[in-house]
Amino acid sequence: MLEIGKISSGEFLILVIIFMIGGSILNVPAFLVKIAKQDAWISYMITTLISLCFVFLYNKLASIYPSKTYVEVNEKILGKWVGKISALLFLFYILYLLSALLYEIGSFSTTQILVGTPIEMIMVLFLLTSIIGVRLGLEVISRTALIFFPWIVFMLFMLFLLLIPDIKLEHIQPIFEGMKPIIKGSYQTLALPYVQLVFFLMIMPYVNEKDEMKKNFYRGTLLGGMVLFLVIIFSILVLGTDITALQNYPSYRLGKRLSVGGFLERIEVIVAFIWILSVYFKLTICYYGLSLGLAQVLGLKNHKILHFPLAFLIFAFSIITHPNTVHSQNFTAKTWTPFSLTICFLLPVLLLVIGILKKKRSILKATKG
């Protein structure tokens, strides 16, 4: 056993919510509003409902071999070599996800908060903090998330509550202007972040109460989707579609509008706090899953030794893959959705079908013999 820690289903719920918020809260509003204009919120609602089907798929896949991670399930169902290749594809996806997250938080900090600081420095500091968490194991990560979760909720609550006076209802009118932009928006946000939830197949075997965990997977997806939905609709209502689409980080701009009674101004850093915390936890559990999965593919006894070499790799990868923001935005707009759908939707469906057939055949054999 590579991991002996166990987490409860409540901690799993919190991890799902934080995973949903982290990263996506930065770039989803601007990206979606650019496509669907003032109907972006309808578009995101549709995506959230569709995503429940994905969660259903992942839950089914998890129940074929409840005590095996996704990488092991791959090898068990597809055979040794094909399974290893498909697991490596999945791990490459996680590696890209990690480097993209690192790039996102780095570029956010260097353009908005710490202007002039080299992006590499922020990435290194973030990775080092993340390594501390990964080395301590899954239990420590999820319990730390448990400690910081109330803060995230509190700050989100503050953000939404203090923005209510600034709402202008005319910003979302006219509602429902044509079906095509809405569908296009839903298609483009399928992978931001819903199909990324396939990652949780890596840590599902270490959750204690399986039935409760499956319910919590649905709940976490809905709650995380609701937070993102609120962020999008508040961006539209407060800033208007034009400003939201122009900004790189509209929710940060949202924070600049906060003011308490005219004497407490410029408290946008509380928004940045939500991001830094949620991105940190997303980064850490993805990192953890990557090193665990790689150790399982290569058949190692211990995944702790992989942490530092992987840090080098992630760091180099995040600089190579995104030379600049335009490149990253183009990739997200064009290739990200089909790429994620292949790895996070087609492969699991294939695995599920073959796995069910294999199980049925083994049951048939057992009854005949």
Binding site: K184, L298, L300, T321, H327, T335, P338
Partner: protein, 77 residues
């Protein structure tokens, strides 16, 4: 120059702390994977410091998915 020295030094420190224990426990597979990954990561970092253009894997992925992406674009616009 200093950045390269720093990178190599970091790699050396990491190996100094990790490898002796692995050799003591005779985990040869782990040692080889560790050294291979570290070398790949360090080579990439040093090439980046030297400003060598490294082929971007995302561009290959974009090329593979280009037909599908433009098909979806045509349908949805």
């Amino acid at each position: 120059m200093w950045a390269i020295i720093g990178t190599v030094f970091t790699g050396a420190i990491i190996s100094f702390f990790e490898i002796p224990q692995l050799i003591k426990n005779k985990c040869w597979r782990e040692v080889s994977v560790f050294i291979l990954l570290l070398l790949v990561g360090m080579t990439l970092s040093i090439l980046l410091i030297k400003n060598v253009t490294i082929p971007n894997p995302l561009d290959w992925i974009t090329k593979i998915y280009n037909p599908f992406a433009s098909f979806m674009e045509r349908i949805l616009s």
